[in-house]
C-alpha cells in the first residue's frame, strides 16, 4: 500500500519533473538558410516567422545558420547541425535542399526535419518519417502575376502601351522558375489575351544592380510595359529604370510597393512568415504530421496578392482590382489550372 | 663656412653604398674628393667601377650621397633630385643617353621644365620655335621637330648637351661621352667642348681613355676603388704616371698574336636581314664567313645593327630573310639550345638580364647550357651534387668571389658576374664563340687573362666573333675586322696583312668610306 503510494508519488514527481523539464527546455530549433539572408527578403520573413513561433511557444530563439555562397557546404552544415544533438527541429528551405534533407533525415532518424517551400518529391517518393515538407504552389504566384501583368498591359493606365508584351526578370536561372513559374506566368497573361508575349531576361548575377537597370531598359525598348521581378536584389535596378522610363513593375514574394508606389503596381505575395510560424507551432505542439507533405498555395491563403495595399487600391483601376479578385477566387476554388491542361 | 673654399666646385669625403638585388651592400665611394676650378676642362679618370659615374651622379642629383659635403660656387650644395641640380646650374650628360626616343628633339630638350600657358597647357609649336631659336643662337644645326629615334648616337648626344645648356648649365658633366662615338665624332665633340670652355663654362669629363685626357683636359682627378688617388694639372703628370695612378700597378696590355693558317669555314651567314620591333630593317643583306683559328671583330658605332646581327646568329631574334650555316648545316630555325649543340657559345653584352639570372644561384647559372646532358642529369633526374662540384670547380678556376655556389648571382659585383658568364661560356665544347664586350667592367689583370684565353681558343682552332666598343681591343686581338654601318658591312679588313689604324676603321664606321664588292670579299 505504502509502496504503491510512494511509487505513485515518485511517478507523479518524475512525470511532473520531466514534463516541466521538457516544457522548460522545450524543443529547440535551428534554421539553415541555403544562401545568404540579405539577397532574399523571403528568408528574412522566414526567420521572423520562426522567431514569432518560438516566442508564442515560450521557447528559446531559434538558431539561424547562414549557408553562404558555397552550395556544396549546405549538406555538411545540415549534418553538423544534426550531429550536435542540440536541436530538436532542423528547418531548411528550397528545392535545392530536398536531396540533402532526405539524405540527412535518413542518417539521423531521431532528429526531426522540416523542409519549407521545397518539392520533396524531387528527392524521394517515400518521405522519411522524421521529415515534414511544405511545398508552395509557385504556379499560383506565377499565374496571378501573369494575369495582373496581362490586365495592366491591356489597360488604359497612363504608362501602358499598345504592345502586348510583358516581361519577367530573374537574377539567375533556376529549374523551378523555368519549369513552373515562367510557364504559369505566361498562362496567366494568355488567359487575359492569348496574343500577349512574355520576354525574359537573366542577369547572371544576384548583386549587379546596374545590370538589372540595363536589362530592364532593353525590355522596355522592346515594348514591354510591365515586368515581374523575381527575387534578387540585383533586380532593384529595374525599379529605378522603370521609374525613369515610366513603366510598371510587379514585385515578388514580399510587398515592396512602398519603395516606389508609382512604379510597383502590385506584388504577388507568399505569406511564408505565417506559414513557417504555423508549421513550427504545430511542431511544438506535436501536431505536425511528420512523414508527410503539404502543398499550400492560393487556396490556403499562403499565396496572395497585394489586394489590401492602400497604394494598390488607389493607383490600380477598379476593374483590374475586381478582375484580380475574381481570378484569385477561381484559383482558390481550383477552377484554374495555372500550368494549363 | 664656405669662405675657406676657393674652388668653383669642391666635393669632400663623399661616401656611397649601394644595395644590390638581394640587399647585398656594395661600397661605391669611400671618401672621394674632387676640386674643380672655374672655366677648366676637368677629367675624372679611373677604371670601370672606380666610382666615377657614382660621384658625378651624386653631383647631378641623380643619386643621394651617404655622407660628405659639396660646395658649389662658394655655397654648400644640397640637392634632392636632378632638377634641383639643374636649377643650380649643374647639367649632366649620362653615358646611357637619357632621351625619350618617341619624343621630338624639342620635347626632349624641355622635358622637366616644359613651359605652359596660363591654363597649364603645353604649346608644342611654341616650344619648337623656342628650341630652334636656342639652337641657332648656339650655332647648332638640328631640326627641333625631328623624332629622336631617327638621329644618330652622336646627334643624340648633342641633343643631351644642348638640353643641359638650355637648362642653364654652367657646369657640364660628360660621362664617357666618347665611348659610342667614332674618331671623327669625337673630334667634333672636342671642338664643342673647347667652345664651351671659351664661353666660361666648366666641364667635367669622365673617361678611362688617357689619350683623350691629354688631348683636351686641363686638370684631372683619378679615382680608384672609390677613393681619390691623385689630382692636379695635366701638365704635371706624364702619361705613364697617369696610367700608374689609374691602374695601381703597371700592367702592359700588349699581347702576342701570331697569324695562323686559315682553316675551314665554320660559320657562314648568307644574305641575312633582320628587322627590329618597329619593322625597321636593322641588318640588311649581310653575308660573311668565319673560319677556324680566326678572331673576327665587328666594328661599328653602336646601333648600326651589330646587336641584331649577333642576336640573329644566336637565335634570340628571327631573321627576316637569309640563312645561317654552321659546318654547312642550316641553323636558321633552331632554338638557342640547338645552336649551342652545333658548337656556338655566346658571351652577351647585357650580363644582368641576358647573360645571367640574378635571382638564381651560381650553380644554376653555370649549368644552364648543359643541365640536360649527362652527367649533369641522367634520364631526366638532375645530378645536383655533381653540378655543385662542377660549379665549385669553375669558381676556383675563374677566381669568382662567392661564399658558396648556392648564393644568388645577384649578390655578386658586376665583374664577378662577368666571370661567371665567361666561365660558363668557355667551359663547354664550342667551336664558335661570339664575344660581346667580353672585358667590360673587368680589372686590368682580368682583361689580360681574358685576352690570353681568347687567343688560346683561337690557337686551338676555334673561331671567335668579337664585338666590342674598345677600338684597342679590336686592333690588338682580331685577325679580321668587319665594319658595319647602317646594317651593312662596309669594310672587310685583314689585320694580319698590315696593322689597321683606328682612324681607318673610324672612316668606315662613320660611313665616310666604303669598300667595293671585290674588296668586301676579302
Amino acid at each position: 500500500m505504502k509502496s504503491k503510494i510512494i511509487i505513485t508519488f515518485i511517478g507523479v514527481f518524475l512525470g511532473v519533473t520531466i514534463f516541466t523539464l521538457v516544457g522548460f527546455a522545450g524543443p529547440s530549433t535551428a534554421i539553415l538558410i541555403p544562401g545568404t539572408i540579405g539577397d532574399n527578403p523571403l528568408f528574412q520573413e522566414d526567420i521572423k516567422g520562426a522567431k514569432e513561433a518560438a516566442e508564442i511557444a515560450g521557447l528559446k530563439e531559434p538558431k539561424v545558420v547562414e549557408g553562404g555562397d558555397d552550395y556544396a557546404s549546405y549538406e555538411k552544415k545540415l549534418i553538423s547541425l544534426a550531429a550536435t544533438n542540440q536541436y530538436d527541429i532542423l528547418v531548411t528551405f528550397t528545392d535545392s535542399m530536398a536531396d540533402s534533407i532526405v539524405k540527412v533525415a535518413n542518417m539521423f532518424p531521431e532528429q526531426k526535419f522540416i523542409l519549407v517551400y521545397g518539392d520533396i518529391h524531387l528527392a524521394t517518393e517515400e518521405i522519411p518519417p522524421n521529415l515534414f515538407s511544405s511545398k508552395f504552389r509557385s504556379e499560383d504566384q506565377g499565374y496571378l502575376a501573369g494575369y495582373f501583368a496581362g490586365l495592366v498591359t491591356k489597360s488604359n493606365l497612363p504608362n501602358a502601351n499598345e504592345e502586348l508584351k510583358i516581361g519577367i526578370m530573374m537574377p539567375d536561372i533556376y529549374p523551378a522558375w523555368n519549369d513552373i513559374l515562367i510557364p504559369a506566368y505566361e498562362h496567366g497573361a494568355k488567359a487575359v489575351d492569348p496574343n500577349i508575349e512574355v520576354i525574359q531576361s537573366v542577369l547572371g548575377s544576384w548583386v549587379d544592380v546596374s545590370k538589372g537597370a540595363q536589362a530592364a531598359k532593353m525590355q522596355f525598348a522592346q515594348g514591354v510595359d510591365i515586368i515581374l521581378l523575381l527575387t534578387g536584389s540585383a533586380c532593384m535596378g529595374a525599379v529605378d529604370e522603370a521609374k525613369v522610363e515610366g513603366k510598371y513593375i510587379i514585385g515578388f514574394n514580399t510587398n515592396i510597393i512602398h519603395l516606389e508606389p508609382d512604379v510597383i503596381l502590385g506584388c504577388v505575395l507568399i505569406n511564408n512568415r505565417e506559414e513557417v510560424k504555423n508549421i513550427l507551432l504545430r511542431a511544438y505542439k506535436n501536431t505536425l504530421p511528420f512523414g508527410t507533405e503539404e502543398v499550400v498555395g492560393a487556396k490556403e491563403g499562403v499565396v496572395s496578392f497585394t489586394f489590401d495595399d492602400p497604394n494598390y487600391k488607389q493607383r490600380v483601376p477598379e476593374e483590374i482590382q475586381i478582375a484580380m479578385l475574381e481570378c484569385y477566387k477561381r484559383l482558390q476554388n481550383g477552377e484554374i489550372n495555372p500550368l494549363g491542361d | 663656412m664656405g669662405n675657406n673654399v676657393k674652388s668653383y666646385l669642391e666635393m669632400r669625403e663623399i661616401t656611397k653604398t649601394y644595395r644590390t638585388y638581394d640587399h647585398a651592400v656594395v661600397v661605391a665611394l669611400k671618401g672621394a674628393n674632387l676640386r674643380v676650378r672655374k672655366g677648366t676642362v676637368h677629367a675624372v679618370l679611373g677604371e670601370n667601377g672606380a666610382g666615377k659615374t657614382t660621384l658625378m651622379e651624386i653631383l647631378a642629383g641623380v643619386l643621394k650621397k651617404d655622407s660628405g659635403t659639396i660646395y658649389f660656387k662658394g655655397q654648400k650644395l644640397e640637392v634632392e633630385n636632378a632638377s634641383q641640380a639643374f636649377a643650380q646650374g649643374i647639367g649632366m650628360v649620362h653615358q646611357r643617353l637619357s632621351l625619350i626616343e618617341d619624343f621630338t628633339v624639342a620635347e626632349n630638350i624641355v622635358l622637366g621644365i616644359e613651359p605652359t600657358n596660363r591654363l597649364g597647357i603645353i604649346n608644342l609649336e611654341q616650344i619648337e620655335k623656342k628650341v630652334s631659336k636656342f639652337f641657332q643662337e648656339s650655332g647648332f644645326a638640328l631640326e627641333a621637330s625631328g623624332i629622336v629615334n631617327t638621329l644618330s648616337i652622336g646627334q643624340r648626344q648633342k641633343v643631351e648637351i644642348m638640353r643641359a645648356l638650355y637648362r642653364g648649365a654652367d657646369l657640364l658633366i660628360l660621362d664617357e661621352p666618347t665611348s659610342a662615338l667614332t674618331e671623327q665624332e669625337v673630334q667634333d665633340l672636342f671642338r664643342l667642348i673647347n667652345v664651351f670652355k671659351k664661353q666660361g663654362k666648366t666641364i667635367i669629363f669622365i673617361t678611362h681613355k688617357i689619350e683623350e685626357v691629354l688631348d683636351i683636359a686641363d686638370e684631372l682627378t683619378v679615382l680608384r676603388k672609390g677613393r681619390t688617388i691623385g689630382e692636379g694639372q695635366i701638365k704635371d703628370f706624364s702619361k705613364k704616371e697617369i696610367i700608374q695612378m689609374i691602374m695601381g700597378e703597371p700592367i702592359s696590355l700588349r699581347i702576342e698574336r701570331i697569324p695562323l693558317r686559315k682553316g675551314k669555314i665554320l660559320l657562314s651567314v648568307r644574305d641575312l636581314s633582320v628587322s627590329s620591333n618597329g619593322n625597321l630593317e636593322r641588318v640588311k643583306n649581310i653575308s660573311f664567313d668565319l673560319k677556324e683559328g680566326e678572331i673576327t671583330a665587328i666594328a661599328g658605332v653602336s646601333g648600326n645593327g651589330q646587336k641584331e646581327l649577333v642576336e640573329a646568329i644566336f637565335g634570340l631574334r628571327l631573321p627576316a630573310t637569309g640563312k645561317i650555316l654552321v659546318n654547312s648545316k642550316d641553323i636558321t630555325n633552331l632554338l638557342p639550345r640547338g645552336r649551342r649543340e652545333m658548337g656556338i657559345s655566346y658571351i652577351p653584352e647585357d650580363r644582368m638580364n641576358l647573360g645571367s639570372s640574378l635571382k638564381s644561384s651560381l650553380m644554376e647559372n653555370v649549368i644552364v647550357d648543359k643541365y640536360y646532358k649527362p652527367p649533369f642529369s641522367e634520364r631526366g633526374w638532375r645530378q645536383i651534387d655533381l653540378c655543385k662540384k662542377y660549379a665549385e670547380k669553375l669558381v676556383s678556376n675563374y677566381n669568382i668571389k662567392i661564399p658558396d655556389v648556392d648564393c644568388c648571382v645577384g649578390t655578386l659585383s658586376g665583374g664577378n658576374i662577368q666571370r661567371v658568364i665567361i666561365a660558363r661560356e668557355l667551359t663547354t665544347d664550342f667551336t664558335i664563340l661570339i664575344a660581346q664586350e667580353p672585358t667590360m667592367g673587368l680589372d686590368l689583370g682580368s682583361i689580360k687573362y681574358v685576352y690570353n684565353l681568347l687567343l688560346e681558343m683561337r690557337n686551338e682552332g676555334k673561331t671567335i666573333l668579337l664585338l666590342t666598343s674598345d677600338m684597342d681591343e679590336i686592333i690588338n686581338l682580331s685577325d679580321r675586322i668587319l665594319v658595319m654601318y647602317r646594317g651593312e658591312i662596309v669594310a672587310n679588313l685583314d689585320n694580319n696583312l698590315k696593322p689597321i689604324t683606328k682612324e681607318e676603321i673610324g672612316e668606315y664606321m662613320l660611313g665616310i668610306k666604303r669598300q667595293n664588292h671585290i674588296e668586301l670579299l676579302g
Partner: protein, 304 residues
C-alpha cells in the same frame, strides 16, 4: 520599334561603359608610373560600399561620393605603401587588396545590418540628367538621361587626354612610363608620380564604384561583388587602348557595346541567356588577339 531599340542599346552601352572606362583610366595612370594596379575590382567595391553607406547616414549624395572616393583611395594608397616601403610585389599586393575588399565589405555589411546586402529605403539616389533637345531626337536620345557620373566619365576621358598629352604632368608621366631612367636623370620624382597615380586611381575607381551603388541606393556583397568583373574588363580595355585615354574610352565603349548587345540578344532572340553572359569577356579576348596580332604592340608594362 527599331528606333527605341537603338536608343536603348546606345543608352545601355554608355551606362555599361562608365565604370569600366573610369577604372581603365585609373589603371592607366598606375601603368604609366610603373606600379601596375590590379586591385580595381576591390577599389570599386569599397567605394560602392562606403558611398552608399555614407549617403544613408548623411543623406547627402556628394558626401557619399566623396566617401567612396576616399575609401578607394585609402585602399589604393595602402597598396602603394606596402609596395613602396616593404618591397612587396605590386601584383601580389593587388590580389590581396581585391580579396580584402571583398571580405571587408561583406563582413562590414553583415556586422552593420545583419546581411551582406544593404538595401536602403529612404536614401537620396543619384538622379538622371536629361539633356534638353537631345532627349527628343530619336537615336541620339540614348545619349541623354544618364547620371552625372556618366557624363563626368566622358569629360574625364577628354581631360585625361589633355592631361596626358598636353601638360607637363602628362609629359613627366609618359617619360616615366617609357623610361624611368630618363625621369630620374631629369629630376622627375618617380615615387611622387607613383603616389599621385594612386590618388588618380583611387579617385577614378571611387567614382566607378559610386556609380554602381548610388543610383539605386543598395550595396550587395558576396564573393563576386557588385563590381562583377568590371575591374578585370578595365585591364583588358587598357590593353586595347594602350596609353591614350581616348583610345581607352573607345575600347571601353566597345566592351560596353558587347554588354548592351548581350542584353539585347537576350530579349530579342532565343539564344541561351547563360551563354550570352560570356559575350563581353569573349569579345574582349578576341579583340585583344586581333589587336595584338595586327599591331604587334608590346603588352602592358607589367612584368607578367
Amino acid at each position: 520599334m527599331i528606333i527605341p531599340l537603338i536608343d536603348s542599346v546606345i543608352y545601355t552601352m554608355l551606362a555599361a561603359t562608365t565604370p569600366v572606362v573610369l577604372a581603365a583610366l585609373g589603371v592607366m595612370f598606375t601603368n604609366f608610373s610603373g606600379m601596375f594596379n590590379i586591385a580595381l575590382e576591390g577599389m570599386m567595391l569599397v567605394s560602392a560600399f562606403f558611398s552608399v553607406f555614407v549617403v544613408d547616414i548623411t543623406s547627402n549624395l556628394w558626401l557619399g561620393m566623396i566617401a567612396g572616393i576616399g575609401a578607394a583611395t585609402i585602399l589604393g594608397l595602402s597598396i602603394f605603401f606596402i609596395c613602396h616601403y616593404f618591397h612587396a610585389e605590386i601584383f601580389i599586393v593587388g590580389m590581396g587588396a581585391n580579396l580584402i575588399a571583398t571580405g571587408l565589405t561583406t563582413f562590414m555589411a553583415v556586422q552593420l545590418k545583419g546581411s551582406s546586402s544593404l538595401i536602403f529605403e529612404n536614401v537620396p539616389k543619384l538622379r538622371r540628367i536629361a539633356i534638353p533637345i537631345i532627349e527628343n531626337i530619336p537615336i541620339l536620345r540614348g545619349l541623354s538621361g544618364h547620371y552625372v557620373i556618366d557624363y563626368l566619365a566622358i569629360a574625364i576621358s577628354v581631360i585625361c587626354y589633355i592631361l596626358v598629352f598636353y601638360t607637363p604632368y602628362g609629359y613627366h608621366l609618359r617619360t616615366i612610363g617609357k623610361d624611368e631612367w630618363v625621369a630620374k636623370t631629369l629630376g622627375i620624382s618617380i615615387t611622387k608620380h607613383q603616389f599621385i597615380s594612386y590618388l588618380w586611381c583611387g579617385f577614378l575607381c571611387g567614382l566607378g564604384g559610386a556609380v554602381l551603388s548610388l543610383p539605386v541606393g543598395v550595396f550587395l556583397g558576396g564573393p563576386v561583388g557588385m563590381a562583377n568583373g568590371r575591374g578585370w574588363l578595365a585591364i583588358a580595355v587598357l590593353c586595347l587602348g594602350q596609353e591614350n585615354p581616348l583610345n581607352i574610352l573607345a575600347a571601353a565603349l566597345f566592351i560596353g557595346a558587347t554588354s548592351a548587345l548581350s542584353d539585347l540578344l537576350q530579349v530579342t532572340t532565343s539564344l541561351s541567356p547563360r551563354l550570352l553572359m560570356a559575350l563581353p569577356f569573349a569579345a574582349a579576348l578576341i579583340a585583344i588577339v586581333f589587336y595584338m596580332a595586327k599591331e604587334h604592340k608590346t603588352s602592358l608594362g607589367i612584368k607578367i
